[in-house]
């Protein structure tokens, strides 16, 4: 059995996908990806080389399966690989990004073409299926299932006695709006409400976030942890009863699943991808993006939440165990690939 993976193999998301397939199908995946680099010209030249190599597969024994991430890039390239079956996974709510302009026009063509030719189109959540259907994907080819998270890594300890603290696990990029979180903590401080926050990860926004923390003198309340290795993250999550993520855009988020599995009550942006898993005021809070006061209100309300929060934490863990268990889901996904390969 020969399976080729087309995608960015350094990304955690891709790694967990590949590992799950390898473990369940008992095969080592071959991989190909576009070269990285700072020079646009060199990248273009390398991309032609990459494309040429894919075309050369026409002269060798076909692959049994190609797995490709993102319909508008690797998903489209997958069409040129000599293979028996193709699986394309959408990465965002749509892979046509930006949606407008010439870029949107040609990418929507690529996405439509990729879905038409794919044997299986993989959505990690319902929120992705809108774009899939609008791109002409056959309903029968669409599989909706998140890869899941490794539940053995995440405990869900009782955190009632901990002093109130939250965790932010998104990298420090502008779209994740860490500054709104800092502003919200400042508002809470002004209301004499205490909460401590841990911000994990690095990114270009770090200096600005840092300076804002200094400006508001929140150094004892907001801790920038920098890069934390994946295997140490669960320990940190065990110290926090709340999880905050307020990006302006969101796909199906593994970080949210990790928070739900770890007993961190989610306060997240009111975006479709989050709505699919969080019901406002029931198992989490949904807030509008770029609204620090609303975020502060939500945190305040949650701190007074009592039983509702306890019930939510239990419910969330149950949900994750039932629907987002990496072992279970990757087995289902791999079985589907196996069936696909058998149906010649």
């Amino acid at each position: 059995m020969r399976i080729l993976f087309l995608g960015e193999t350094y990304r955690a998301d891709a790694i967990s996908w590949m590992k799950g397939v390898e473990a369940n199908l008992g095969v080592k995946l071959e991989t190909r990806e576009l070269p990285k680099g700072n020079s646009r010209v060199l990248r273009m030249i390398a991309a032609f080389g990459f494309f040429g190599k894919l075309l050369l597969t026409r002269f060798s024994k076909p692959y049994d399966l190609v797995l490709a991430e993102r319909a508008t890039s690797y998903g489209f390239f997958a069409l040129f690989v000599h293979t028996k079956k193709r699986v394309v996974a959408q990465q965002g709510i749509t892979d046509v990004y930006p949606e407008g302009g010439f870029s949107g026009f040609y990418k929507s063509f690529l996405q439509r073409f990729a879905y038409k030719k794919a044997d299986l189109v993989h959505a990690w959540g319902n929120v992705m299926t809108y774009a899939m259907l609008e791109s002409g994907a056959s309903p029968y080819k669409i599989m909706v299932l998140p890869k899941g998270i490794d539940l053995s890594r995440y405990r869900c300890p009782d955190k009632k006695d901990l002093s109130p603290s939250f965790i932010v696990t998104r990298s420090l990029y502008d779209l994740y709006r860490h500054i709104d979180i800092v502003e919200a903590v400042k508002i809470l401080q002004d209301r004499y409400i205490y909460i401590k926050g841990y911000m994990v990860g690095d990114g270009p926004e770090k200096p600005e976030v840092q300076s804002l923390i200094h400006k508001y003198q929140l150094q004892d309340r907001l801790i920038l942890k920098g890069h934390v290795p994946n295997d140490q993250l669960p320990e940190l999550m065990d110290l926090c009863r709340y999880y905050i993520a307020v990006p302006t855009t969101e796909g199906v988020s593994s970080s949210l699943f990790e928070a739900m599995a770890s007993g961190c009550y989610p306060i997240v942006t009111d975006l479709p991808a989050n709505q699919a898993f969080i019901k406002n005021g029931k198992n989490g809070h949904l807030v509008a993006p770029c609204q620090p006061t609303e975020l502060a209100d939500a945190i305040e309300s949650v701190l007074k939440g009592g039983n509702q929060v306890d019930e939510a934490l239990e419910e969330n863990r149950r949900y994750i165990e039932l629907h987002v268990d990496y072992k279970k889901n990757m087995k289902i996904i791999s079985d589907k690939y196996r069936t696909l390969m058998q149906n010649n």
């Binding site: 299926t129 809108y130 479709p272």
Partner: protein, 619 residues
């Protein structure tokens, strides 16, 4: 035609009081007799509407002479008399002239192998005491209902969901099913909108052992396979006419008076015509009339009835009556209604009750033969491609509601999704506009049946659509007809759903399926040719109600509209994403434009109130 209930407890012995409560909740389905059987952990109950063999000896549950088998049965086996010689030869003695006794002996002799030989509609439970096995079976097209719940107390089943609730099965919303309810107007497949309450699928059976701890489901009727196995039909029009007459003849078997639901359209007129042409006497026709001429066909029905010698009864329900009937039919239906004509059917059934106990209907003809206007889009490829150009027409130029709807429908740009959503009022564009952005758009059952349809008819989109509709939309019509007619203790029979007719029609070449004119080529060019022109040439009129006007003008419905934003329904996904206040206000300003959305949520909220809120009529 009756109501059945039963359970198989896990631990506790069968409680007769529970059984009686369940059974009596279905008294409308069988006012003529009620009885039950209980032993150990198993209980079976039955309410009887006597149609064949009116004697007490034909009351159920039926127990075999050896005492090992128990049967509770809802439905009719129209060809039951054909089995007498065979069963008598095998030594069976008959004490009644009921079809129930024939079914019991067939099951004893052949097990479920006999099902393919039955012509009728049915839902039943058959218990083999010695082997401690219970079998639940449902007919091919879902004319008769059967619901079940397998919970910690045991396995419970009943003809209607309300009987499960009477048996203390929890009444809770299954939130994950509301996505499908909202987008597609009803839940398909086994799912209901209630937690841990399922429907037994048409053409399926369930084998139970050990109180439901062992549960095995089988598909005993597969339409696609039956179509593939059908012998070629040499003269389709002649064959269709003969088979339809046979179907009518079988459905006239009754020991009580039989009438016909006559709208004045092609389907019901063909039904009445066939009865008259075969010499059946004492015919009666039951019609719903409308003062609004746009909706009214009563003059046609009256004329035809007179010509065919049938007693004609026509009733118009005024707005107050209609609101009352609709509210009661919502209660009767248990699940949310989706056709919005339920009140009319309940009303006419209540009127007909004074003279008949059985009504024949033309239901199913549109799905089997291809009759709905909405099918036209997929009728031929050239038209489909031309219609797709509508996407480039600005909205302001589309003055007609139907054209605007077409634009939203074709805007999906996905042929298979269009087939899946052909009977919808809302499409992807509407969901996006309404802020419903994370719904499950692809219910498994629908997707699976569409895939099956593609295998049966690989090259014809219209026939794929018909096949899908025969497994989805048709089931909801059957549910509506069952609940509304049985709500008035009337049995409804559907001649267009005769298995020989449906399978035979399904096997015919594509040329017999097109939606030119009224569509239904096979009917139009066979029996239709014998019907007067005023029936065949009249434009198609559905049983539609101007709910937009009623909701705004009727005080009760208007109050409901004003209170809509306060309904608890809107705390559930996906309803919680809707700006209900905004939708209500927009509807008041432009009723036509916002009608599809408001109708959907208005009736769902009314249903929710009826079933879940303390002030509902149920309490």
């Amino acid at each position: 035609m009756c109501g059945i209930v039963g359970f198989w407890n896990k631990e506790l012995p069968a409680s007769e009081s529970t059984l009686i409560t369940m059974r009596e909740s279905l008294i409308h389905r069988g006012p003529d007799a009620g009885s039950h059987w209980a032993e150990g952990k198993i209980g079976l109950g039955h309410r009887r509407l006597s149609i064949l063999d009116l004697s007490e000896g034909a009351n159920q549950p039926f127990e075999s002479p050896c005492g090992n088998y128990i049967l509770v049965f809802n439905g009719e086996i129209f060809n039951y008399k054909t089995f007498y010689p065979e069963l008598k030869n095998k030594g069976y003695h008959f004490k009644t002239t009921s079809d129930t006794e024939v079914l019991l002996y067939l099951l004893m002799e052949y097990g479920t192998g006999c099902l393919s030989r039955l012509n009728g509609f049915f839902a039943f439970s058959f218990l083999d005491k010695r082997n401690q096995e219970m079998i639940l079976v449902r007919d091919r097209f879902g004319v008769k209902p059967l619901f079940y719940s397998n919970n910690h107390r045991g396995f419970y089943f009943a003809s209607e969901i309300k009987a499960l609730w009477a048996g203390e099965v929890a009444k809770e919303i299954q939130e994950s099913q509301l996505d499908e309810l909202f987008l597609y107007r009803y839940t398909s497949g086994e799912n209901t909108v209630f937690k841990n309450i399922y429907r037994l699928l048409p053409g399926y059976l369930i084998r139970l052992k050990e109180s439901g701890n062992q549960m095995h489901s089988e598909r005993w009727f597969h339409l696609g396979n039956e179509i593939a196995a059908q012998n070629p039909i040499s003269n389709p029009y002649q064959w269709f006419e003969e088979t339809f007459h046979d179907s009518i003849r079988l459905r006239m078997i009754s020991d009580v008076p039989v009438g016909t639901l006559l709208s004045g359209g092609l389907d019901s007129s063909s039904t009445l015509y066939s009865q008259a042409s075969q010499g059946f006497e004492e015919l009666s026709a039951w019609n719903i009339s409308f003062s609004n001429k746009e909706h009214d066909e009563s003059h046609l029905a009256r004329k035809l009835s007179k010509e065919l010698g049938a007693n004609f009864h026509s009733y118009e329900f005024d707005r107050e009556q209609l609101v009352d009937l609709t509210t009661r039919s919502i209660f009767q239906h248990d699940e949310p209604i989706m056709h919005f004509s339920d009140g009319h059917l309940l009303g006419i059934s209540e009127k007909a009750k004074s003279e008949v106990k059985v009504l024949l209907s033309g239901e199913g003809a549109d799905e089997i033969l291809g009759g709905y206007v909405r099918y036209k889009v997929h009728d031929n490829e050239l038209r489909y491609n031309l219609l797709n150009l509508i996407q480039f027409v600005p909205d302001k130029w589309l003055k007609n509601d139907r054209m605007r709807k077409m634009k939203r429908y074709l805007g999906m740009g996905n042929r298979e999704a269009e087939i899946l959503m052909n009977s919808n009022e809302l499409y992807l564009a509407d969901l996006k506009k309404l802020g419903v952005l994370s719904s499950n758009l692809l219910p498994d059952f629908r997707v699976r049946i569409l895939e099956e349809a593609k295998k049966v008819y690989p090259k014809n989109r219209l026939r794929q659509l018909l096949y899908l509709e025969q497994h989805t939309h048709l089931y909801t019509l059957n549910d509506r007809n069952d609940r509304t007619t049985m709500g008035a203790s009337i049995e409804c029979r559907d001649p267009f759903l005769d298995p020989n007719l449906v399978v035979g029609v399904g096997s015919l070449p594509d040329k017999y399926f097109h939606i030119k004119g009224k569509g239904k080529d096979l009917l139009m060019n066979s029996i239709g040719k014998k019907l007067p022109d005023y029936i065949t040439q009249h434009r198609k009129v559905g049983l539609s109600v101007p709910w937009d006007e009623l909701i705004l003008q009727n005080p009760l419905l208007r109050e409901q509209l004003e209170n809509l934003p306060h309904s608890e329904l809107f705390s559930y996904r996906p309803y919680c994403y809707l700006d209900v206040k905004g939708i209500v206000e927009n509807f008041k300003k432009d009723p036509k434009l916002y009608y599809p959305t408001i109708r959907q949520i208005f009736f769902t909220a009314l249903w929710f109130q009826t079933k879940f809120e303390p002030s509902s009529i149920e309490n």
